[in-house]
Symmetry: D2
Subunit: 368 residues, 4 copies
Amino acid sequence: MKKFILFFLFCHVTALAQNHNHSFGRKIAFPNVSGYLTLKSDLHIHTVFSDGSVWPDIRVQEAIRDGLDVISLTEHLEYQPHKDDIPHPNRNRSYELALRLAENSDLMIVRGSEITRSMPPGHSNAIFIEDANKMIKDDAMDAFEEAQNQQAFVFWNHPTWTGQETDGIAKLYDLHEELIEKGLLHGIEVVNMDTYSEEALQIALDHNLTIMGTSDVHGLIDWDYETQHGGHRPITLIFAEERTEAAMQAALEAGRTVVWYNDLLIGRAVHMNLLLNASVTVESLNYPGDTQVAHVQVKNNSDAKLMLHNLSDFTFYDTADIIELAPQASTTLKVKTGKRLKTFDMKFKVLNAIVAPKEQATLTIQVK
Amino acid sequence: MKKFILFFLFCHVTALAQNHNHSFGRKIAFPNVSGYLTLKSDLHIHTVFSDGSVWPDIRVQEAIRDGLDVISLTEHLEYQPHKDDIPHPNRNRSYELALRLAENSDLMIVRGSEITRSMPPGHSNAIFIEDANKMIKDDAMDAFEEAQNQQAFVFWNHPTWTGQETDGIAKLYDLHEELIEKGLLHGIEVVNMDTYSEEALQIALDHNLTIMGTSDVHGLIDWDYETQHGGHRPITLIFAEERTEAAMQAALEAGRTVVWYNDLLIGRAVHMNLLLNASVTVESLNYPGDTQVAHVQVKNNSDAKLMLHNLSDFTFYDTADIIELAPQASTTLKVKTGKRLKTFDMKFKVLNAIVAPKEQATLTIQVK
Amino acid sequence: MKKFILFFLFCHVTALAQNHNHSFGRKIAFPNVSGYLTLKSDLHIHTVFSDGSVWPDIRVQEAIRDGLDVISLTEHLEYQPHKDDIPHPNRNRSYELALRLAENSDLMIVRGSEITRSMPPGHSNAIFIEDANKMIKDDAMDAFEEAQNQQAFVFWNHPTWTGQETDGIAKLYDLHEELIEKGLLHGIEVVNMDTYSEEALQIALDHNLTIMGTSDVHGLIDWDYETQHGGHRPITLIFAEERTEAAMQAALEAGRTVVWYNDLLIGRAVHMNLLLNASVTVESLNYPGDTQVAHVQVKNNSDAKLMLHNLSDFTFYDTADIIELAPQASTTLKVKTGKRLKTFDMKFKVLNAIVAPKEQATLTIQVK
Amino acid sequence: MKKFILFFLFCHVTALAQNHNHSFGRKIAFPNVSGYLTLKSDLHIHTVFSDGSVWPDIRVQEAIRDGLDVISLTEHLEYQPHKDDIPHPNRNRSYELALRLAENSDLMIVRGSEITRSMPPGHSNAIFIEDANKMIKDDAMDAFEEAQNQQAFVFWNHPTWTGQETDGIAKLYDLHEELIEKGLLHGIEVVNMDTYSEEALQIALDHNLTIMGTSDVHGLIDWDYETQHGGHRPITLIFAEERTEAAMQAALEAGRTVVWYNDLLIGRAVHMNLLLNASVTVESLNYPGDTQVAHVQVKNNSDAKLMLHNLSDFTFYDTADIIELAPQASTTLKVKTGKRLKTFDMKFKVLNAIVAPKEQATLTIQVK
């Protein structure tokens, strides 16, 4: 009978490898930034071990296909709709399975759990924990304190969710203020699944919480985000000093994140600038023929489309003041500089780079 | 807490409906044939309840996306790699879950189980059973007899599988002959997952077994069959008098099937002819201008590409003797008939319609 | 020999019809606006009869494929590089050929000519003329006066062209001021081929010139604008009372135009508003479940992508303040209205709708 | 005024270069064969200088986009529908223009002309001529003899054309037999535009004529052959000792050609074998795990899809006897060899490689 099982495993592994080859094209890519590695994370995910629809192996494969650096399987502690079939008392189980399934890949798995309560405080993820089982507590506050005992990084999930706030508007309750004051809450989801919350972004800025975006996937990434048509799950870019769990946690605690959601980038101005400066590079400047029209070739090194709004006095030879830099591509800007310049600056507002409610990042590039 | 669960359900249902809209394009379609409905089936499927990687809801959604009429979740009786986590003794469980999940759709779920033994007899699926639990027996023969007690339709799975036959060549053992003689084995997989077996087809023809093709899916249909690039899972077309379980079982017992696998159709000549005659219809005949070149518009009403090899004396004005009829499309044949004819016959070998080893179906169409 | 020629014609016509069927998808579509028909025009085109590379039949077919209402073949009067091969003294010839080639289609052909001079005045198109031959004059001013005699509509071509202005910046010369004062110049190309000129737009607004955009095609539309990848030639939308030459000329003289160039719309605010109001319609308003999040379905009835920037106080449940309305598609806006409203207004800046240098159109939609 | 013309030229050249970059993907590629270079030709093309719709520059650009080695602009000598506009008496003119336009590219231009007569003899192309003007003769036979004087290679065009044979069936007239006997006719179009003639192929084989296929394009290659959807014009592959006009003519006179038309390859068996042997190479052989199923990776080095029908005794693990080798791609054949072999032969009929009416090429590959 042992031989029998082996054949099944062999069969499985082959399938994995084949699929891998066919999905190279969808790996998400962002450049490292000045001083930090850019790690791609999805830190809010479910499997059959709470209310998701897949075994952990699918989550590992999805993340590898997406080119992520790190995921966390954050099963609900208190919500176990499959418990008639999966009565397992071990809340660490999906983490343990995923860890083994990912061990021959570069994917990192972080232990996490979702503290699942009615509002307030609503749902929160604790990651970098040591033992999920110990977090099962009657009182919500006790669960947060246990997370602190385990030196977890804790963030508030989908504060905008109409399942708990029917107007869809994120609001800070007294309980949240208490959690923040006590140092028990460190981040907040500004993006969850297919929602974005301007109010959550304001809360993050007002209370120094880390800006987070996650898929919160229960079904299949491919179906929820139409990856076959170029869609992608929401991810949090983490700017870490090393590719280690400790460095990642340090980065999250320092708030060094930018969220990528549909065509939007969301993050604090300082981190957004890091990312934009690394993403846009000038490749060449020349003036064709006897003209005074500068041809400036710029490269977008990121997977995010960048929508630039010209803030300089120069106008363009071939377009108005809005310019789109397609992902991972070069674009030639034809700038009417009036005379031939050896070097000049161009300043843009990046329309899809949100740094605060109603406020977008600016980007200055030095052309030479 | 009840209210809480409700929100989750609401959320889930919405996601389902949205996905549905986006995947209309991939629904598999074949025409009904003379005297019978054409039912699209996949009768060999796994979930987390044996060694698959998804909850039954994903299987139901995959089948709805593919436009199938019927599926069976045929969990291994004897192979339970997830039993540490899913210790459920009820082998009917995935069927019961799927039945409820599909109840608001047109999808039919048939109760089935996989008798999972080393070779011989290898693996076999028993479907239309009453209780999978009763089929757990020490002796393989006892399991087959219990299937008979339950009036099941039983077919031999992947006789070509290198996991059990290292040369990949399907062979009939004494035990199989005994099963067939006793009326305990009624069909054989000529196609399983990504394998096709000419030897299995010969066994089917020699021993009057029903020709079957299944996905035997463990992971995701989309990944295994690249549906985003137009791929499809192997299915068995069943020619049934009604859209009921009983009619379907009667059709399978009578051997009325054609398998669709990649670009191949595989079935007995009599059933293949039923399908081809329904799939190809003549839409018009005319002679343009003063020519004697007949323009014959033919429609392929099926999702299968049809590769025709001309057996008539006529030659074509625009191509040699091989003609491809694209799926669900009209093609104009330009036939050099020498003089203007009111009606004439055209005879083709259908290169991708296998009716026996080294033998392809013929198709005669009456043009008028 | 006559019979012989007939066969060639037959052959040609068939090819035309077939191509037509295959290119339905690329026909440009914009809605009619309040009080006017929206006519799609390209009024600056060349053939082998001046310095273009195709016979007029290709221009007619290109325009039919693009779904245009009207074109003008504006051969250079003074620049005839093919004159060794096509010594024809008749400057109306390409018009006459095109007129006959288009007579079985809905496409209108307008007689036009390009007055081709060094700067100033540079190049200008005179359309709705009676006889191009009479416009051949030694002195440029005489040519403009002859155009006036023929009651032509005259517009200045590519004032931004580095072939005549090496800095690419459109400038009004004394001669242009004189032409405008005398009523001899009525429009100006803000878009020509692959150029856009903010300075030309300012000149149009300052001097009450009609805003024009044209392809100025010499080679093939498909190659210059990559129509197979969804590209399109620059066109001028003309808001006319009827689908007649006279109504079209009246509309041009009244300045009722919007130019569509890549993703940009360019026009006076009053005409832009006409177009935007016709292009965006509210299809439905509902509040799902017990939420206060309005689901507003809006339809973009035009072929132009519309990039909206939210100017209302409301925020969105699923995105930040920039929303893209894909062409010819419905989009659901999820608006957090705080309470359930029977009706409300939403106000947007339309980022890609230019009404003046550095100024974009606003659009208010009444939701109910 | 000179400066003026220069700008136009500059503008044109830039456009050419840009288009070039965007169309790399459609360059046709076939491997060289044993002993010969494989040159891609289209030797039957029209421009405005007879009854085509484009200037020669478009023909040069089309050929460069298609990656051809050689074209001939074969204007009708006797059919000049544009003569009212292009009264030029010089029948060499389009050749001369094309030669200059192609001089900075690798494209070769061959001087040719179409002798355009009613049937018999119908139309014929004479290529490698010295002066088309001298071929204008009252009597057809005199034109063929003048071609011989100029040492031309002459082939019969579209013998299947319903414009001259209403039944579409190529027939040899006495006049053709006389031409062949006198050595005045050397080739025959088996493929012209969108027609294929099995009868013409038989005539080629019976009378030792070179097998030719051409586009005979009058309009645009992109429109007639839907290149944006992967279509291609018919071409003649010429197996020449060098990339020179002389070597090409020698190859044509020796009959060393294969025609590529839609999915068909058509040629004499000896040349077809040269092409197929160069096109299909074995990359690797291995037996995975403990199986006796050979995994044979074969590469199709050509742009033609190859449809193989297995003639060996071996069966396949994953498909029936028909295998498609996609163009420019590797395919893994899973061959059930029964035991592990160090080397073995596989024999196929190539279904889309026509070597005679009702006869397809065979291909044997040595696996090791």
